[in-house]
């Protein structure tokens, strides 16, 4: 059961990562109108606002999945990391749980700022809120995968 939950948690995280990365890239200020033909150009020319609700839902569900997995992590993984004296691995996970918590608190404001009609005066706030969430999601994704595979990554 815990393995199924872990896989579902990972898959949801992939979807969340894709959505928030598209949106975060789309709000990077553009230099001129060129660039829509390239892969990067097409990657960013998405309907940014359309991702907001999906990001909120995916973030909450993925966080709940992580919270359900956390007891197993606390008993098995963290004690193993402590036994192996891998302090940095424990540290990056501690940061991950803080970022997820702060992200959960940020979601209502993020969602409201992306709610139609988009107010031009709020473009900067929308951009920074999106980049903050993108940082949280990328950190959580990378740390989760590294810790999940840490026994195979270590010599």
């Amino acid at each position: 059961m815990i393995v199924v939950l872990l896989i579902v948690h990972g898959l949801l995280a992939v979807a969340l990562l894709g959505a928030i990365t598209h949106q975060a890239w789309s709000v990077v200020p553009r230099r001129g109108a060129a660039g829509t033909v390239s892969f990067v150009g097409r990657f960013r020319t998405v309907d940014s606002a359309a991702y907001a609700t999906a990001v909120v839902v995916l973030f909450v569900i993925t966080a709940i999945g992580g919270a359900l997995l956390y007891p197993q992590y606390r008993i098995d993984v963290r004690t193993t990391l402590e036994d192996l004296q891998l302090r940095a691995a424990n540290g990056v996970f501690e940061i991950k749980e803080h970022l997820v918590a702060i992200g959960l608190g940020l979601l209502p404001t993020y969602w409201l700022y992306w709610k139609a009609p988009l107010v031009p005066e709020q473009a900067a706030a929308r951009r920074y809120l999106t980049w903050l969430l993108a940082f949280f999601v990328w950190w959580g994704f990378l740390v989760g995968h590294v810790l999940n595979n840490i026994k195979g990554l270590l010599p």
Binding site: A88, A101, I102
Partner: protein, 107 residues
């Protein structure tokens, strides 16, 4: 003057959430603790039940306290107290503080 597109209660919630969360974490205070080895919640530290998880308590405390304050503060006062950019700047500052504090794991 009140800007019609602003939602100060929601912005206050997000700002306070990160502040209350950091305070709880820094003070090592949680309204409850979960002990995964015995599958039990406790209001107080119970070392005989094994390692505790405080994170659920920190998140719950941050949600309840910040929601209560966000609802209680009048809209006009909230708009005067906090500019719109604080909605993202305060959480950003909290993240920087968290990263600075958690350097302890890497030294």
């Amino acid at each position: 003057m009140t800007a019609p597109h602003r939602h100060p209660s929601v912005e206050i919630f997000s700002m306070l959430f990160s502040i209350v969360y950091l305070t709880c974490f820094y003070m090592d205070w949680a309204p409850f603790r979960y002990y995964p080895e015995t599958l039990r919640f406790h209001l107080r530290m119970t070392p005989q039940d094994g390692p505790a998880i405080l994170w659920y308590g920190w998140v719950a405390a941050a949600a309840v306290v910040s929601a209560a304050i966000a609802v209680a503060v009048p809209r006009r006062l909230a708009e005067r107290l906090w500019p719109a950019w604080a909605a993202w700047a305060v959480p950003l500052i909290i993240v920087v503080l968290v990263l600075l504090y958690e350097r302890r794991w890497f030294v």
